[in-house]
Amino acid sequence: MKNYDVIVIGGGPAGLAAAIRAYDLGAEVLIIEREEITGGILNQCIHNGFGLARFKESLSGPEYAARFIDEVCKRDISVMTNTTVLSLSADKKVTAINQTDGIFTLQAKAIILAMGCRERSKGALNIAGTRPAGLYSAGSAQKYVNIKGYLPGKEVVILGSGDIGLIMARRMTLEGAKVHAVCEIMPYSSGLKRNIVQCLDDFGIPLYLNHTVLKIEGNDRVTGVVIAQVDKDKKPIPGTEKHFDCDTVLFSVGLIPENELTKEAGIELCGATKGALVYQNRETTIDGIFACGNVLHVHDLVDFVSEEAEIAGAAAAKYALSGSKERSVVNTFAGDNVSYVLPQKIDKNIEGNVKLFFRVKKALEKCTVKVICGEQVLLEKKKRVVRPGEMENVILPESLVSELGGDISVVLEGKEI
């Protein structure tokens, strides 16, 4: 059995950045990637807007990925492509399969989980109607258009206003398709504001908030959909139905971290993020197994994925080369208006500031983020506006971290928009 200091599962943006960081700190690193090339989902994201935070440039997905792939190539990092990990054990054995080596098992001192996420399927929604051809997740449609060079359909309705759905509304329009509507059940879009402006508004594509698809029509291929407005309880309001003739329905109804291997290894998951429970160094509940990127929690900007992956990469190298230290743990909780906080656990013995990432439950303006411990407010920060579609953060300085007297919560006060 071959041994590595660090095995990174997944060669997308998270895996690449984590591997580079781990290697630079002296670890022998292997990346295992199931696709033919590394870069992950960025390879099919040919639009720009990536890297504004990290490189102060607007890059396309493949360009952003290339910056990291180039760095990997400069180093002696092993990369296995076309290789799927079949199982992961708590003692860090990785069993994988590919065409040249068959099924084989490797041993690592530390593991970094960077498997990314998958799209929530239409099946999970219990939508009424038939199941004809022409129903695609937005990401599958993106793969057909940008990688395979085929157009899935010409008359399109998009259900859900996640970022990929918004991007695909524009992409399909540019390819000559007519996008009739984007329909969102919530009163707000879960996508980035800039995507709503650049992908819908600029192309005159209507966004129907508080609307859901009532029915899908067509036997062989989709022929139409019926949408309707919903009330506060998400129940359709009779009389508000609208019918669209279309040959394609795209679903952009959420992303789910892909944690089958994580579960199999016995790692504890967080109900809110659907990813592993982690410390600030992105170590999971199993010592020496780390997680970063969309497998940990769904990010909206890849720049933050890279940042998080570097934290995990550094910690994995450190663990592989010098083992673990004793912990002193407090938990973090999501308080008022906050849906989750990550990391869920803080180890006071780990040096450095702790950046607390969180998402809000509803759009608020003129708000204050507070980090509280019991009755005590440790930190306050003003935010002009916060939205569920955009991840927020607040930095807990090292001086406060080492002094934490108990569990902390992040709460948000503000005016509803």
């Binding site: 590919n98 239409k122 057909y144 395979k148 062989d220």
Partner: protein, 476 residues
């Protein structure tokens, strides 16, 4: 000319076709869709019933009990998974307990073995998820589960391996009875001739009989809606759980599937057309009833919902006989539940007792009833898998990541009888695309593999046959 034409590639047509190939007969199967198992054998609960439901003395009762006893060997020969997981009919009131006693008595008269009424304590012990409102249950240990479309595909495949012909996209529109043979014409004008004809057309069996000149029965459609839960929830229940039948019907069931999912449903709604739409009310009904049967149903694990149309007949029993008006026409109609369970027994009866009147039945000495399971690769040891990958590296490439299906298995499904020629057909054979992402990741690759193996342009690959095209041409 064929000796026998079987019309309809559902489980009944499939098992009859296979049975026919045990004899030296030239036989064919005519199927209107692009693949077999596209009607009720596709969207079906997959239950191998014990046999306590059907009225004493009915064909349903007879074939159910016979079929149940045959199913284990039958499925094994065809390499299809079967599990005798046992059924429970759950009572929620003293009155329902009384009905259970009637059911038990009826079952015993039908020849069902090992039936037992159990206390709620025993019930909660063997099925902890059952609602605490339950007061007892009828346990039928002989109840089982099988995958209806896999059984159908395997039976047709095995029949083809033994010489039968499959004609897909052959929608019968006209039947002419000549002196010694039927001329059967399809919608696109193709026609075949056959000495005798077996009508296994499910919800279309009335139309087929009428086309041949037999107006003796009517068949209607009844729509059933289902919800399927992820394999993650697979151990939620072990037995197939039924409500106690009332005058209003049987209610829905909560059951594991043989592939490890949980299935909830079906509703029962009379429909005028062959409508297979799910409805908001129907799916809500399934959820409410499932929640009545069990505590904490893991609805969060829903991966898909679907509907199917089941035939029901004005006679309320199976029709399995030679037509009284058209010589050489054998009708297998009104095969409602427990049709799947009964299929192997019906096939044996039809061939041995009905077809035998028309031909001298000479054994086909080359008949081999064994079929290599479609999921054979999955059941191998690591060493065996590695030997196969060395020989054929396509088995080392995972295409469907949720169900871990390799390119080798997909190519094999395209090349094995009955050949899979579209995305859904691949899914039914390999489970590729059947997992939690529902084909989100693997469909583009599956489409490419189909185009490559069938040597057709990628735009011609369909989801499930004619009209269900997936792509509208190249990008700019």
């Amino acid at each position: 000319m064929f000796d026998v034409a079987v019309i309809g590639g559902g489980v009944i047509g499939a098992t009859i076709l296979r049975e026919l190939t045990k004899y030296r007969l030239n036989v064919c199967l005519l199927e209107k869709e692009a693949d077999v198992a596209m009607g009720q054998s596709r969207a079906n609960s997959g239950i191998v019933h014990a046999g306590f439901d059907a009225p004493v003395g009915s064909l349903k009762a007879t074939f159910n009990v016979l079929g149940n006893a045959m199913m284990e060997d039958y499925a094994r020969e065809l390499g299809v998974k079967f599990k005798r997981n046992g059924s429970l009919v759950v009572a929620f009131s003293e009155e329902e307990l009384k009905t259970l006693k009637e059911l038990k008595a009826r079952g015993e008269l039908n020849g069902v073995k090992k039936l037992r009424i159990i206390s709620k304590e025993e019930l909660f012990e063997i099925e902890p998820s059952v609602s605490k409102n339950a007061v007892g249950a009828l346990l039928a240990p002989t109840g089982g589960i099988v995958c209806p479309y896999k059984l159908t595909v395997a039976a047709v495949g095995n029949a083809m391996d033994n010489g039968a012909t499959l004609l897909t996209e052959f929608e019968v529109v006209k039947i002419n009875k000549g002196e010694n043979a039927f001329t059967i014409t399809a919608k696109d004008g193709k026609s075949i001739t056959a000495k005798i004809m077996i009508n296994c057309a499910g919800i279309y069996s009335e139309e087929i009989a009428k086309a041949a000149g037999d107006n003796s029965f009517t068949v209607g459609g009844r729509k059933g809606e289902y919800i399927l839960l992820d394999r993650e929830c697979g151990d939620f229940v072990k037995h197939t759980l039924f409500f106690t039948p009332t005058e209003k019907g049987k209610g829905i069931l909560v059951s594991p599937t043989v592939d490890g999912n949980i299935i909830l449903g079906p509703t029962a709604e009379q429909v005028s057309d062959k409508n297979v739409e799910t409805s908001v009310d129907g799916l809500k009904d399934v959820q409410e009833k499932a929640a009545k049967m069990c505590d904490k149903v893991p609805f969060g694990g829903t991966i898909t919902s679907f509907a199917g149309t089941r035939a029901y007949c004005n006679i309320h029993d199976f029709i399995i006989e030679e037509s009284k008006t058209v010589e050489g026409l054998i009708n297998c109609a009104g095969i409602e539940s427990p049709g799947l369970t009964s299929a192997p027994a019906i096939a044996k009866f039809v061939v041995e007792d009905l077809v035998s009147k028309f031909f001298e039945m000479v054994d086909n000495l080359d008949f081999d009833g064994q079929r290599k399971p479609d999921d054979f690769f999955n059941n191998l040891s690591v060493e065996e898998k590695n030997n196969i990958i060395k020989e054929n590296p396509a088995y080392g490439k995972i295409i469907c990541r949720c169900e871990r299906i390799t390119e080798g298995e997909i190519v094999r499904a395209i090349k094995t009888n009955p050949p899979a020629t579209n995305v859904d057909a691949i899914k039914r054979r390999t489970r590729s695309g059947m997992g939690r992402c529902q084909g989100g990741f693997c469909q583009p690759q599956v489409v490419e593999i189909i185009a490559r193996e069938l040597n057709i342009p990628i735009e011609q690959v369909t989801k499930s046959g004619k009209g269900s095209y997936l792509l509208r041409g190249k990008t700019k």
